[in-house]
């Protein structure tokens, strides 16, 4: 069975990357090849924990309109069509604000004078590499660029659908998360047992439910004392797949970039077990 498993959380810092990387490492011996995709393009940290050899990168560019001042008559047709207020016409000359432009191409179609052409503007890159039989792909948004979603789209288009893919999602619940989660088969929701964790878990669960993606919970930093997550999971009929205890030792290893599977060997088995549970959940869920 080939599938895309995305690890998401709503709230940042709950241990998404920790879980995604440990899962990939634990499955190395079971698979011929698998793929790890870091879609947290604003703050990509998969490489810090997975430590892949980077084999290269490709730029991601957006098409950005350029106005030819000698042809522009200032008719304002381009400004009228632009839904993102990315064009202003000043002194009978159209000007494009690159940072607001979504590259929809509307202004080019609208310009009666053929005054607008397009040029590529690089907003980030996709890095690719490997660690043993794990193919590694990561998107990186350039600092001061606003739009993460085009990088995520480009990254996902580069993925190989022929192998199991484990995806590290960005935090939050907005456009970058939706672009990441959209066509995935299963979502592992990583949360922590605080009111913040549960509140954000609920937001993220609403998103995956809306998208019709089956999901299960991994409780991280579990202090054994808080029962709210169990109640939430029960009420919403979401399985709890795994619990990772709140331990200073784990946090210290994380600080040095040591993946969980190298902290203690039993985690290898635990994460293989996690994958087993995801597979059985997938068999039971109606195919979309």
């Amino acid at each position: 069975m080939i599938s895309k498993i995305v690890v998401a959380s709503g709230k940042g810092g709950t241990g998404k990357t920790t879980v995604a990387v440990a899962l990939a490492l634990a499955l190395r011996d079971e698979m011929d090849r698998l793929q790890f995709m870091d879609c947290d393009v604003e703050e990509p940290n998969g490489a810090v924990l997975l430590q892949p050899a980077i084999d290269g990168d490709v730029p991601v560019a957006l098409k950005t309109p350029k106005v030819d001042p000698s042809r522009c008559t200032g008719c304002e047709k381009c400004r009228e069509v632009c839904a993102f207020n990315a064009i202003a016409v000043v002194n009978k000359q159209a000007m494009v604000f690159d940072n607001l432009c979504h590259s929809c191409g509307g202004c080019i179609l609208a310009c009666p004078e053929d005054a607008i052409s397009e040029a590529d503007r690089v907003i980030g890159r996709i890095e690719f590499g490997h660690r043993d039989n794990i193919e590694f792909l990561s998107g990186v948004l350039n600092v001061s660029e606003a739009m993460a979603t085009p990088i995520i789209r480009a990254l996902k288009a580069k993925g190989n659908d022929e192998m199991l893919t484990i995806i590290d999602a960005p935090p939050g619940t907005a456009c970058p998360v939706i672009a990441t989660v959209k066509d995935c088969d299963y979502c592992i929701l990583v949360t922590e047992p605080t009111p913040f964790g549960i509140y954000d878990l609920d937001l993220m669960f609403q998103v995956v439910s809306e998208l019709g993606i089956p999901a299960g919970i991994v409780v991280n930093k579990d202090d054994g004392a808080n029962l709210d997550i169990d109640a939430y999971a029960g009420d919403n009929n979401i399985p709890i797949l795994m619990r990772i205890p709140l331990k200073l030792e784990i946090a210290v290893h994380y600080s040095k970039g040591v993946p969980l599977t190298q902290v203690d060997e039993h985690w290898d088995a635990e994460f293989r077990n996690l994958y087993g549970k995801v597979r059985s959940e997938l068999c039971q869920s109606p195919s979309r």
Binding site: K11, G12, E42, G106, S144, C175, K182, P195, E210
Partner: protein, 310 residues
């Protein structure tokens, strides 16, 4: 009344304790209005128990919609849409052209193109924003609709409303709890702010993210101070961070230890300063006081020069 002085708390990486610190800062700082600009996953209201005084709807991004009765299947919309959001009929199935809502960017180019006038733009899921009273003063916060886009715009609204509220209440400062990352909502929170506080943790990922977030604030010319949370996780990295900050001339506003007291405080809906007189509460207080001192300094400088435009 001049434009209030805006302090934005950010982190790059999520989960570093940004919101916990913001809540502590808010609890000892009188002269401010608080804005929760982490509109994707807002958490401050869980500690502030807000009493909502005003509630407004934030319209969602419009999406294209095709009227099947008018569509002549000319395929033009499919050709112009750059986001793969127009789904053509599968041959032989008798279906018609339709729009994939999740892919639609709302650019309206298809509407503009359609020769049959079959496409209209309809409002997507909408969010809400609130102005509330809390035990720490006024809080402006928001809730994005499920799977709603455009959090950057909502951030701008929340920030603007917090500024208005501050002027109304005669507060000189606005404290903004910013979103994680460096993309659109973060830029909307940071651009034009007067002081940024980056909360980081001494982990390899934390270092990596701090570098990116400092690059961002320097790009927007926002003076930045740093707080190292969970400093006892890794002494070596703390040392490196301190050396780096010193050489870059970036003030270190405080160091706060790893302590599960923080989680217990949140569990009871209180700030860690309210909850206990522990070391971690003392360190939070110190960091908040340093932040306030830096903000006051900044305000004096700002008052003596010309206030910056927006």
């Amino acid at each position: 009344m001049p434009k209030p002085f805006e302090i934005v708390v950010i982190s790059g990486k999520g989960g570093t304790g940004k919101t916990v610190f913001t809540s502590c800062l808010a609890s000892i700082f009188q002269d401010k209005v608080v804005a929760d600009c982490d509109v994707d996953a807002p958490d401050l209201h869980l500690l502030f128990t807000p009493l909502v005084k005003r509630q407004e709807v934030f319209p969602g991004t419009p999406h294209a919609s095709i009227d099947p009765d008018k569509c002549t299947s000319c395929d033009r919309c499919f050709q112009v849409c750059r986001f793969g959001a127009v789904v053509p009929p599968e041959s032989g199935t008798g279906t018609i052209y339709r729009i994939d809502d999740l892919a639609c960017e709302g650019c309206a180019v298809c509407e503009w193109t359609c020769p049959a006038g079959a496409i209209s733009m309809v409002a997507g899921p909408s969010g809400k924003w609130f102005v509330s009273d809390t035990r720490f003063g006024t809080l402006v916060h928001a809730k994005l609709g499920v799977a709603q886009e455009n959090s950057g715009k909502l951030v701008t609204v929340v920030r603007e409303e917090a500024r208005k509220a501050a002027i109304e209440k005669g507060c000189r400062f606005v404290v903004i709890d910013g979103p994680p990352g460096i993309g659109c909502p973060v830029i909307a929170s940071v651009a034009g702010a007067d002081l940024a506080v980056a909360v980081t943790e001494p982990t390899l990922s934390g270092v990596h993210d701090l570098e990116r977030v400092l690059e961002l604030t320097s790009h927007f010319g926002v003076k930045t101070g740093v707080i190292i949370n969970k400093f006892d996780l890794n002494g070596e990295i703390v040392l490196k961070m301190e050396q780096f900050l010193e050489s870059a001339g970036i003030p270190l506003l405080g160091k706060i230890r790893f302590d599960t007291t923080v989680n217990r405080a949140i569990g009871e809906g209180r700030t860690v300063i309210e909850y206990s007189e522990s070391e971690v509460a003392r360190e939070m207080t110190l960091a908040a006081e340093e932040t306030i001192a830096l903000a006051n300094q900044g305000l004096d400088v700002k008052a003596s020069t010309e206030s910056r435009g927006d």
